[in-house]
């Protein structure tokens, strides 16, 4: 079982990102459960979405407390909540940021980091900071757990139409291409 926790803010599409990712993973033959967190339904509030993926049926319909992967689609949500809470060792962190790795504090559990300046790209594509599909591209690039083709198919099967679909397909591809992946060597105690 692989557990992903998506952090964002209300209005950015964290829940929808979970749904699109779930559809793409099911498309590839996986079992998936996507459960959104239930905060207050207002724009700007920190929100989370939980996604489990496995090769066999998943029975737990619960939140995620020990994620293998943390996907942050907002640059500042990490100031409001501890996005690394309960994270497993050898974890993967995906972050929307304009900063290089050297300016970020990477916790000990994280060994793979995928960075993408999704806000800048979103402002270019959508004229609004909607980062969810960009960061799904970043997720595909960094983890290799889902293909870009399956994500494209999931977007095409969603409620997006016409110009909106075109923009999101572009965002997906841009997120994939513009993400820098860093593998962090674990310091071994002498």
């Amino acid at each position: 079982m692989y557990e992903i926790r998506i952090h964002g803010r209300g209005g950015q599409g964290a829940v929808m990102a979970g749904g699109i990712l779930a559809t793409a993973m099911v498309h590839e033959g996986h079992y998936v459960v996507a459960v959104p967190s239930f905060g207050f339904e207002r724009r700007g509030a920190p929100v989370a979405s939980f996604l489990r993926m496995d090769t066999r049926e998943i029975r737990q319909m619960t939140n995620i407390y020990r994620p293998d992967c943390v996907l942050c689609i907002d640059p500042t949500v990490g100031r409001a909540v501890n996005v690394f809470d309960g994270m497993r060792d050898n974890g993967t962190w995906l972050q929307t940021t304009a900063k290089p790795l050297a300016e970020l504090q990477v916790p000990d559990q994280v060994t793979t980091v995928g960075l993408c300046d999704a806000v800048t790209h979103a402002l270019d594509i959508f004229k609004r900071p909607i980062t969810n599909t960009l960061m799904l591209g970043a997720f595909a690039k960094t983890t290799g757990l889902v293909s870009l083709d399956s994500l494209r198919a999931a977007l095409e099967d969603s409620d997006f139409r016409d110009a909106g679909l075109k923009q999101n397909l572009l965002a997906l591809e841009r997120g994939f291409n513009e993400t820098v992946v860093h593998i962090i060597e674990k310091k071994v105690a002498a």
Partner: protein
């Protein structure tokens, strides 16, 4: 989401609210009346979308409140329509007067309760308190464990409700938040399969609104003189018989569903790893998945633990529960709601009542968790197992345990 996967046309990824809307569509419901309320709102939105898309050929009536939702559907049902609605929490409370009348009028409708904890404290999150507050009103109530079960049970609900030996309304309960918004892979049955399973509604023209044959429905009945008392008793006894008859009808409907659609769900109770179990958990709704995982962990440690899931809660499957739990030493009943009268969970009361009929009666304790959207995880179930195992050893029934008290 509503994403139909192109490679496998029968599989979709959707949440429980969308699954219920698909069920309504496949059941060829004629009439839907709605008033949105969290966490049911997206269910209503899906229904409106399906009608607008031409998928669902039903009259959808937007009314000014839940009291009118059910009153409007009474008219539709009495005119022979297959009807549906969904609600929860405060909406259910506002609906209470026509809700009370529905089973007495023997109306075969299906209504989802997207379960929500009741006010107050102010809360918009899931919990079984709303459905539990109406457990003795005379509706059949089935609780779902998975999104798939929401879809399948909502369709099966019509087969149960419309059966001549039943003729009662059915609540399909799916957990607010965890099932209403939780999305999984779901197998969509074909329209042909559902048509083969569920024939068009057989209207009870004995008590139906027919302009060519005007009749009074539900005249004043009862009182202390004349034919009143015995007539009222016959109505009540008939209603109770319908409830009891539904147990066999629910089993038959699940069997038909398995035969035609190829998917089998336990109709009344499901026994999970109960062979040789010394300790048993009893669960209701979406918490069951985490409960089964916790049972697997205990079994891996060599502990003799099993789980009994209650699917049909009203009528309560007394004999099935007594049989499933006979022989175990201790039972831990996990409720997602409260019985204020007993300072325990309501399912706990039902279970200890049913254990009166067990050949060997185990000790039982009440656990309450998952109120107002709180999570019940495998760790919580681990604590339930530990405490119930202690009960199996010493037989000392302790106070009700509140699982999320120190979360």
């Amino acid at each position: 989401m509503s994403a139909v996967l192109k490679s496998k046309p029968k599989a979709i990824v959707c949440d429980g609210n969308e699954a219920a809307a698909w069920a309504v569509t496949l059941a060829r419901v004629d009439m839907v009346a709605v008033y949105p309320i969290t966490p049911q709102s997206s269910l209503v939105e899906y229904l409106a979308k399906f009608v607008a898309d031409g998928k669902l050929n039903a009259e959808i009536i937007d009314v000014e409140g839940e009291h009118s939702v059910l009153s409007v559907l009474h008219g539709g049902t009495l005119a022979g329509a297959r009807t549906y609605t969904g609600t929860c929490g405060p909406g259910l409370a506002f609906m209470f007067e026509p809700y009370l009348r529905t089973p007495g009028l023997r109306m075969p409708m299906v209504m989802s309760i997207v379960t929500r904890d009741t006010l107050t404290p102010q809360s918009v999150w899931g919990g079984h308190q709303d459905a539990m507050s109406v457990r003795e009103v005379g509706w059949i109530q089935m609780y779902c464990e998975t999104v798939q079960e929401v879809l399948d049970t909502t369709i099966m609900g019509y087969k149960v409700a419309e059966h001549r030996d039943v003729m009662l309304p059915v609540n399909v309960c799916h957990d607010g938040n965890y099932l209403s918004y939780g999305a999984t892979r779901v197998e969509l049955p074909t329209q042909e399969e559902v048509d083969a399973f569920l024939p068009p509604p057989a209207t009870n023209w004995h008590a139906a609104l027919d302009p060519d044959r005007p009749m009074a429905v539900d005249p004043l009945t009862g009182g202390a003189g004349g034919p009143g008392p015995s007539m009222f008793v016959r109505y009540r006894k008939g209603q109770c018989s319908g409830m009891q008859n539904s147990l066999a009808v629910i089993e038959a409907a699940h069997e038909d569903w398995a035969r035609i659609v190829g998917r089998r769900h336990a109709p009344l109770v499901e026994s999970y790893r109960m062979d040789d179990a010394e300790t048993a958990l009893v669960t209701l709704g979406s918490m069951t998945g985490a409960g089964k995982d916790a049972v697997d962990e205990a079994r891996d440690r060599g502990e003799r633990v099993g789980l009994v899931k209650v699917k049909t809660y009203r009528p309560f499957p007394v004999q099935a529960i007594a049989k499933a739990l006979s022989g175990v030493k201790a039972v831990g009943v996990v409720d997602r709601s409260v019985s204020f009268g007993w300072n325990s969970g309501p399912l706990y009361q039902d279970v200890i009542g049913a254990l009166q009929f067990a050949t060997q009666r185990p000790a039982a304790m009440s656990f309450i968790g998952g109120l107002a959207g709180a999570d019940i995880t495998t760790d919580h179930f681990g604590r339930v197992i530990e405490r119930t195992q202690a009960l199996a050893k010493d037989g000392q029934v302790g106070e009700t345990v509140w699982l999320n008290e120190k979360d």
